[in-house]
Structure formats: structure tokens, C-alpha cells
């Protein structure tokens, strides 16, 4: 039987139809699509039991009480801890990517010793610790020869550092500049003592003067939770939020009102508001009320010229404050540092004028808290690192060794270039750092510190809390990713070798003692709880004597006020933008390697620049290059630039991107207080 044409067609058609009815072809296609995407270089997922462990994540300055989710013991995500009264289940954008930061390419992987300019070699821990002791031994007992800078505002590590220095006959313990430092000095100028707190949760009108309280100021997440509680979605708004500051920032974006106040006019704004309140009937029993009233009237006369705002705006604001049952003024610098104590006093005095100190929803005062180490310096006696490095630069201070704990002074101090140069005058610099930051890159010895999920740590009274608050955490993982040691453990061991006993061998023991001194339950704290004390007030003056010395800032031609802008997601003074957060940076803020300077259309016109122009901002003998972005959310005669860019160390995700605003922040001495200030810096802007 032959195969005719009809038979052939039948077989072919039958074959095709048959193939379509078998799963073979479809299964093969499906398999091919899977195989063609299943390459060895596509990372596969980790397997194992998923657990959640409580942790204290100190990646943000306030510290978030979080739950770290692990798979097979490896952290992979961070979620909120609803049981913690401070974080209440919220997480900030830095801590949200905390697990990934454990594997940051910028981490210091092992102890390193400088062997040449920009050259390091890895050494063993015992050699590193021996080198530290060897360098400190000859300096022991000579005051001014050993200094320490801490970038941690809340940890008991500061007690260990200051007590160790005191034990070695030195008093040079310094802190990186922050709100806590200037505010505590401000409280002193008002005749009080302690760290100010702000009961945002209990207030029905919150006026934030400068303080970016819903993004980068104070206990951000707790503030955000307090804000959110007053405006449930679909429900009635129970508190008003008003922001007065140079930039329509994240905080201002959700406020009921934004008042554009240039950074050079913060104190004038506060005092002019005081005048409006006094005119509306506010009186104070404070002894200096008469002088204060006169200062307020003077500020009111200068208000329109200094701020570019209309006087009616103040009247409206004063009426709202008068109508509120529990108004609160939150005082702070718009970028969390550099404002003088006088800006703080001017804003905080409004709470005194309104009788809101020590009240529910008012301003409170927090003491230093019980110490774990008796010989440690009091918290409110802290000295600032900017002044210290300025005296190193001029040769007034001549330390032989500098211990740098979790701080990045070479990047995050004003006139950063000079600060970095000043560090060159110090023969032996040790950086205890988790990441290879700009300061570590200048150090003679780099000692890797563990990531927050790998260490014991604590936080007492993060700046802004209304009542004494204490948090503590222990490691989430059994072993650090790299060859790290807790800096406090290293310091305690070094102290012991130098013949000094601080009574503890490990940081964990110090924290347990701290908890016990405060009356807190350590186990409850490390399980994710928090210890809180009472909210207290105290007698305060209106600070008129100090405010009388405030000098107004005049802007020269082609000069504008500089408003550095912080966004927590983009990092902090001691943390560059994490790889998981680079996505959140807008392309109107950073484009490729170019940073943007933002100004409103009127300012741009005045300066003769337009959208997209490349400009140079000059001040303090340094300059910063940027592209212009016209943004109506910037106050008059003000140039706003993001802080935290222009890194020269860290990793490929941040290095060389943008420019460092700290370079062009000009330090001046505040009249009357002698503090170093740079929040009112001005710059000249010129097209390139």
C-alpha cells in the first residue's frame, strides 16, 4: 500500500492535531521559559524557619524599636514592634533597610592599620588592641593629650568613654553637634537644667519652628505616630500642625500651614510671634518679662524685612495659638544642628510665655538620669566636637590621640575640609566604626564595630521625648558578618591594660547596670519594651538676657541664606544613603553625580539663574557645584541643598555622588553664648 497525497496530508494534519492535544509541546515551552530564566547568577532565596526577634535599631539617631525578621537565622526584613510604646509599630526608612545594611559593601571587615597615605592593611585583633594600648600609655595622665568624639547621643557607651578618659587624667570628651547639645545649653540660658522634651502626643496645636519633627528631628517615628493619631483616616482632625522653616519639607507637606522663614530669621520669627501673642493678651510671671516684651516688640518691627512674610500671618497664627487648649512650640534647627542656643531660646520661650512648661502637651525637662559609671561625665556637661577640632586647627588643643566612636567628623562638621585637615594634626586617630566612612579613611587604626543587629546597645532619652525613656537591645544574630568587636568591650579591655578598672568587662554588663540604676527591667527592654519615667517641668525664664545679645544677619548682594535639608531616608551625619534607599532620592535632588540647589522663582530671578543652570555656591573658602531646580517650596532669598551627599568614602552607591554641603557651612561664634553656630550660613551663588 503506497502513500498517496491524501494519505500524506492526513498523517501531517493528524500529527499536528495530535501534538496539540498532548501536553508535551506546552510543557516543553513552559520548561524552556523557566530554564531560560533560571541562571546560576540569579540569586536564589534562603530557606529555613521564619522568626521575628525584637531589636533596637540605632541606624537612625533616635533609634527604632523594631522586630527583625529572620529566615534560617539570617535577618532579611525589619518590621515594626507594636508593643513598644515609643515606636508603636512604626519603622523609619533607614531602619526599614537595616538587614541589608549588615551586608553593606562599605562595612569595615577587619581591624586595619594605616600603612601609608590612603593605604591600609588588615591586622589581627590582638595586634590592634595592643597598638591602641601602646599609643595611649605614654599619654596617660596628661590632660588634653587624649580626646574622644562620640557620634552617639543616647548610648551608655558615652559614659564608658568619658569615664575612661577621666581615669586616664583627661577631660576631652566631645559629642558631635546635634539638637540635644544646643537645646541643653539653651535651657541653661533660661535658668533651668536638663534636656528639653516636647509632648507632641498631648498637644492640640503643634508649632514646629525649624524642627523637621515628622521626618528627621527627634524621635521621628514617635512624632509621626503622635501626628497620625490626631488625624485618623476618615475621622476628625484633633490637632493642628504648623511648620515654620525655610523649606516646604516632608514635615511641612502634611502640616495645616507652612510659614516660609529663612534660616537667618528663626529667632526674629519666634520673638515677633511672642509680640503678637503679648498683644493678644499673653503675659508671663517670669522675672524678665519686661525685657522680653521689649525685645519682642523690636523683633516685630523687623519681622517683614527679615522673613519676607506679612505681619498678618503672625496675627493669624497668634489667634490659633490663643484658641488652642494645649499649644506646643517645638524648637529646633531645620537640619538638626548648627542653630545657636539663642534660636532655641527664642522658640522655647514661647512655651514659657504660654505657660506650657511641665504641662500635658507642653515642654518638659529631663534630667541626666542615673549613671552606670559614677566617674562618667554628666550628659548635660557635654562639649562640642566642632569647637574642639577648631582649636586643634589653630593649635590651641594638641591631643596626641583621638578616639572616634560612631562619628564622622571629617564629613559631618561645618567647614568639613578644615575639620578633616585639623584631624591631620593629631598623631594617632582611632575610628570605631561599622562603615568605612570619611573619618575612618583618615584614621591610623580602624576598629570595626558591629552593626546594630549584631551588638548590645541602649538609648536613654532620645532627643525630643517628653518623659525619661530608656531602650535596650541585644544581638539578633549569633555572630557578626565580619570580624568585629564591640567598641565598648575593646575600650574596657584597653582601660584594664592601662591599669584602669571601670567595674565592667563588657558593654552588655554596663547596659544591665544602667537598666538597674534607672530601675528598668533589662529582660523586658531587650524583649522589645521600653522604660519610661515621669514628665517634669521646672522654673524657666524667658531668656531675655541671652536673647538681647542676638545679632541680626544681614545678607550682602548676590548672597542668600543657605538652608541645608535633611531627609532621614537619605542617611544621617554618621550614615551615608544605604543601597536600599538610593531609590527614594528624587531626580530633582540628585541626577547622576550632580546635586541640585533649590530656590524659588523670585530668588532665581534675583540671582540671574534658571532651571538646570550649573552654579557654584561659595562660602567659608570652599565651594559646592550644583544644578538649579526652581522649587516654590523654599523661603525667600534662600538656597536649599540636601545634606549627606558628596561622599568620598563609603561605597559605589554613594561615593562621588553630589557634593558635601558641610564644606560651605560657615562657623561663627554666637554672640553672648560663645557657641559655634552655622545654621544661619550664607552663600554667594554664581553661574558656572
Amino acid at each position: 500500500m503506497g502513500l498517496d497525497r491524501r494519505g500524506f496530508v492526513k498523517i501531517v494534519v493528524g500529527g499536528v492535531a495530535g501534538t496539540l492535544f498532548t501536553p508535551v509541546i506546552w510543557q516543553s515551552l513552559d520548561d524552556v521559559s523557566i530554564w531560560s530564566q533560571n541562571w546560576g547568577w540569579i540569586p536564589s532565596l534562603n530557606k529555613g524557619e521564619v522568626k521575628a526577634k525584637a531589636a533596637l535599631s540605632k541606624l537612625c539617631p533616635a533609634g527604632c524599636a523594631v522586630k527583625v525578621n529572620t529566615v534560617g537565622g539570617l535577618p532579611f526584613a525589619v518590621t515594626g514592634n507594636a508593643a513598644n510604646p515609643m515606636s508603636k509599630g512604626g519603622v523609619c526608612p533607614l531602619c526599614a533597610g537595616g538587614a541589608q545594611l549588615m551586608y553593606s559593601p562599605a562595612r569595615v571587615k577587619a581591624p586595619m592599620k594605616k600603612v601609608g597615605e590612603g593605604k591600609y592593611e588588615e591586622i589581627k585583633w590582638e595586634d590592634a588592641e595592643a597598638l591602641l594600648v601602646e599609643k595611649l600609655t605614654p599619654l596617660k595622665g596628661q590632660d588634653g593629650k587624649i580626646a574622644a568624639i562620640s557620634g552617639d547621643e543616647t548610648g551608655t557607651a558615652n559614659e564608658v568613654l568619658s569615664a575612661m578618659l577621666a581615669g586616664l587624667g583627661n577631660t576631652g570628651f566631645y559629642v558631635m553637634p546635634g539638637e540635644m547639645f544646643t537645646a541643653t545649653k539653651g535651657v541653661k540660658l533660661m535658668g533651668g537644667s536638663g534636656q528639653p522634651g516636647f509632648d507632641i502626643e498631648g498637644a492640640d496645636l503643634v508649632l514646629m519652628i525649624g524642627a523637621d519633627a515628622l521626618d528627621s528631628w527627634g524621635t521621628t517615628v514617635a512624632n509621626q505616630k503622635a501626628f497620625a493619631a490626631t488625624r485618623p483616616t476618615g475621622g476628625a482632625v484633633s490637632a493642628q500642625y504648623i511648620y515654620a522653616g525655610p523649606v516646604l519639607n516632608n514635615t511641612a507637606s502634611v502640616c495645616d500651614k507652612w510659614l516660609a522663614v529663612p534660616p537667618t530669621a528663626t529667632a526674629t520669627f519666634s520673638l515677633a510671634l511672642a509680640n503678637a501673642l503679648i498683644e493678644a493678651g499673653a503675659v508671663s510671671s517670669a522675672a524678665d518679662f519686661g525685657d522680653y516684651k521689649a525685645l519682642a516688640a523690636k523683633a516685630a518691627a523687623a519681622f517683614e524685612a527679615a522673613t519676607g512674610l506679612k505681619a498678618d500671618a503672625l496675627k493669624e497664627l497668634a489667634a490659633k495659638i490663643k484658641a488652642a487648649k494645649a499649644p506646643l512650640v517645638v524648637a529646633g534647627a531645620s537640619f538638626g544642628q548648627g542653630a545657636g542656643a539663642l534660636d532655641f531660646v527664642a522658640a522655647a520661650s514661647l512655651n514659657v510665655l504660654l505657660g506650657r512648661v511641665g504641662q500635658q502637651g507642653g515642654m518638659t525637662l529631663l534630667g541626666n538620669g542615673a549613671k552606670a559609671i559614677a566617674s562618667a561625665a554628666d550628659r548635660d556637661a557635654a562639649k562640642d566636637a566642632a569647637s574642639f577640632l577648631a582649636s586643634v586647627a589653630t593649635g590651641k588643643a594638641t591631643p596626641g590621640a583621638l578616639l572616634i566612636y560612631e562619628a564622622n567628623p571629617a564629613f559631618a562638621l561645618p567647614q568639613a575640609t578644615e575639620m578633616a585637615k585639623a584631624m591631620g594634626n593629631i598623631a594617632f586617630k582611632v575610628s570605631f566604626s561599622t562603615y568605612m566612612d570619611e573619618t575612618a579613611a583618615l584614621a591610623d587604626l580602624i576598629l570595626p564595630a558591629p552593626h546594630p543587629f549584631e551588638r548590645h546597645d541602649d538609648a536613654l532619652n532620645p532627643y525630643g521625648v517628653a518623659k525619661a525613656t530608656y531602650l535596650a537591645g541585644k544581638p539578633v544574630v549569633a555572630k557578626p558578618v565580619h570580624d568585629c568587636k564591640d567598641p565598648v568591650d575593646v575600650l574596657l579591655a584597653a582601660a584594664s591594660k592601662l591599669g584602669l578598672s571601670l567595674g565592667f568587662d563588657t558593654y552588655a554588663d554596663v547596659i544591665k547596670a544602667k537598666a538597674s540604676a534607672l530601675g528598668a527591667d533589662y529582660s523586658a527592654l531587650t524583649a522589645g519594651g521600653a522604660w519610661t519615667g515621669e514628665a517634669k517641668g521646672g522654673p524657666l525664664t524667658l531668656g531675655a538676657a541671652a536673647l538681647a545679645k542676638a545679632a541680626p544677619v544681614a545678607l550682602a548682594d548676590k548672597t542668600v541664606a543657605l538652608a541645608p535639608v535633611t531627609r532621614l531616608a537619605y542617611g544621617t551625619a554618621s550614615l551615608a544613603t544605604p543601597p536600599a534607599n538610593t531609590l527614594t532620592v528624587r531626580n530633582t535632588e540628585l541626577l547622576g553625580k550632580d546635586l541640585f540647589v533649590q530656590m524659588n522663582a523670585a530668588t532665581a530671578k534675583k540671582l540671574g539663574v534658571a532651571e538646570g543652570n550649573k552654579v557654584k555656591l561659595s562660602a567659608a573658602g570652599s565651594e559646592l557645584k550644583a544644578l538649579v531646580h526652581v522649587n516654590e517650596g523654599v523661603a525667600a532669598d534662600t538656597a536649599a541643598v540636601l545634606l549627606g551627599f558628596g561622599r568620598s568614602a563609603w561605597d559605589e552607591y554613594t561615593k562621588g555622588k553630589g557634593d558635601n554641603v558641610y564644606k560651605i557651612l560657615t562657623v561663627s561664634d554666637e554672640a553672648g553664648t560663645g557657641l559655634k553656630v552655622w545654621a544661619g550660613s550664607t552663600v554667594t551663588v554664581a553661574k558656572v
Partner: protein
């Protein structure tokens, strides 16, 4: 999906995002990136190459200082009732056929033609131009919830679908009904992390879930409602200028008009 009219389900997972509470902090974007194993890119300022399953837009009222106002608008996938992306997919790599109404994206089936990206008016879809490269060691911090995608495929937000599966499993283990999850039992990472609680998530059809009523509020609106894609993501604001930017006013010239609730 034929593309004619919204497909209905007994459960409709949806969001109501309160724009008056969103501070634009970016925690949702970071949490999303972590949950869904999106690899960091070296130049994240090139927004044509980044993968942002949820993207926070900045809206402006375009007024001069000091009357300027801004608002932040987080944009996940809208999980449209009548998605524009589904009918254009030549290989059925994206579909809306599961109870809950989440628009799926099947990576191994995707051929990377990007028709869906062109069709989506919300720009919620992203193409992998590169293979995912994590810094050395960071693959140890990969989430077990989402597979890493190779280059050449399109991806998008799926309301953290693995979390839905896990919530259903948990309900089963605890003797509950996986098809009637309690409010809050299933939360995508963005809603979970948001420090101001701006994202309310739940079943739009379940009266016991907060979103059910919130979506009906006079302050609620959907983006580009006039297109008729029936998104399952609602926005909420008392600020009229923000609502107007959502394009909801186009039909009648009034904000809040033409609401179509399922």
C-alpha cells in the same frame, strides 16, 4: 480577560492611601524593595532604569511661595478591576483571575515585549534591563517571599502576594476561614511599615474592613477614574487641589464626582 468591564470577585483587596498623612518619608519604598528583593542600582537617579514597585510622587499646587503646597502620593500597582495591561499580554503572563482581584505577573512566562508597560496609564510596571546584582554577601539578606527576577522580564507590585498566601495558611492552621481574613491579617509590606499609617489595606467588599467605608468617603478618589480601569487603590485627601490632580473631576468638573464603587 476580555477588556470589557471590570471583572468581579467576592473579595477585592484594596488600599485607601491617606495623602494628608503621607510625609513622603520613603519607608514604604524601602520596605517594598526589601520584601521583593529588588537589587540596588548604581545610578538610582536614572529613573528609566530603576524598579519602583511603589513610587512616591511629589505633587505641587504650583503656587508661588509662600502659598506653595506639596503632597506626596505613593503609587503601587492599582490592581485595576479592568486592567489595561492584561488584554495586551500576548502570552498571558499577567492576568486577573484570582479571588481578591490582584493582577498577577508570572515572570517565567513573560517574554519582555513590554506591551503591558505601554498600556498601563499608571506607570506601575517596570522592565528588568539588567540582571539583579546584589553587593557581595547581600544575597544572604534576600527575603524568602519573592523570587529574584532575571533581566528581560516585566515586574510590578502584587500587593505582596506571598503575604496573602501566608495569611491564608495561618487562617487554615488556626481553624479560621482563609476566604474571610480578619482586617489586618494580611498586609503588604508598605502598609505594614508606614510610620504614619497612611496606607489602610483590606477587602473593599468586606464591611468589617476599614477600607470598605473609607473608599466611599467624599474625600476618596481614584487616579484617572475617567479611564474606567476601576483601580482597587483609592486615595484620600481633604485637599481639593490634590483630588483635582487625580483627574477625578474631569467628567463633571467637580471633585469627588463620578464615583463608581463596587
Amino acid at each position: 480577560m476580555s477588556g470589557h468591564g471590570a471583572k468581579e470577585f467576592n473579595i477585592k483587596w484594596g488600599m485607601v492611601i491617606d495623602l494628608d498623612k503621607c510625609t513622603g518619608c520613603g519607608a514604604c519604598m524601602t520596605a517594598c524593595q526589601v520584601e521583593n528583593n529588588i537589587a540596588p542600582v548604581l545610578d538610582a537617579s536614572n529613573k528609566l532604569r530603576t524598579l519602583s514597585w511603589i513610587l512616591v510622587y511629589e505633587l505641587s499646587n504650583k503656587k508661588a511661595a509662600p502659598d506653595a503646597e506639596i503632597a506626596y502620593l505613593p503609587r503601587p500597582c492599582m490592581q485595576c478591576g479592568n486592567p489595561a495591561c492584561v488584554p495586551v499580554c500576548p502570552v498571558v503572563a499577567t492576568d486577573k483571575n484570582e479571588e481578591g482581584g490582584i493582577v498577577s505577573q508570572i515572570y517565567p512566562r513573560c517574554i519582555g515585549c513590554r506591551y503591558c508597560m505601554a498600556a498601563c496609564p499608571y506607570h506601575a510596571r517596570y522592565f528588568n534591563w539588567e540582571d539583579p546584582v546584589f553587593p557581595k554577601g547581600m544575597e544572604k539578606a534576600l527575603s524568602p517571599n519573592t523570587s529574584a527576577r532575571p533581566r528581560g522580564v516585566v515586574e510590578k507590585c502584587n500587593f505582596c502576594h506571598t503575604r496573602l498566601m501566608k495569611a491564608k495558611d495561618k487562617a487554615r492552621q488556626e481553624g479560621g476561614n482563609p476566604e474571610a481574613l480578619a482586617d489586618g491579617a494580611y498586609m503588604p509590606a508598605c502598609a505594614d511599615v508606614c510610620p504614619t499609617g497612611a496606607i489602610t489595606f483590606g477587602d473593599l467588599k468586606n464591611p468589617e474592613h476599614k477600607v470598605h467605608e473609607l473608599a466611599k468617603s467624599e474625600h476618596a478618589f481614584r487616579l484617572l477614574e475617567k479611564l474606567g480601569l476601576a483601580p482597587q487603590v483609592y486615595y484620600y485627601t481633604r485637599r481639593e487641589w490634590v483630588r483635582k490632580l487625580g483627574d477625578n473631576y474631569a467628567a463633571t468638573g467637580k471633585a469627588g464626582a463620578e464615583k463608581k464603587h463596587s
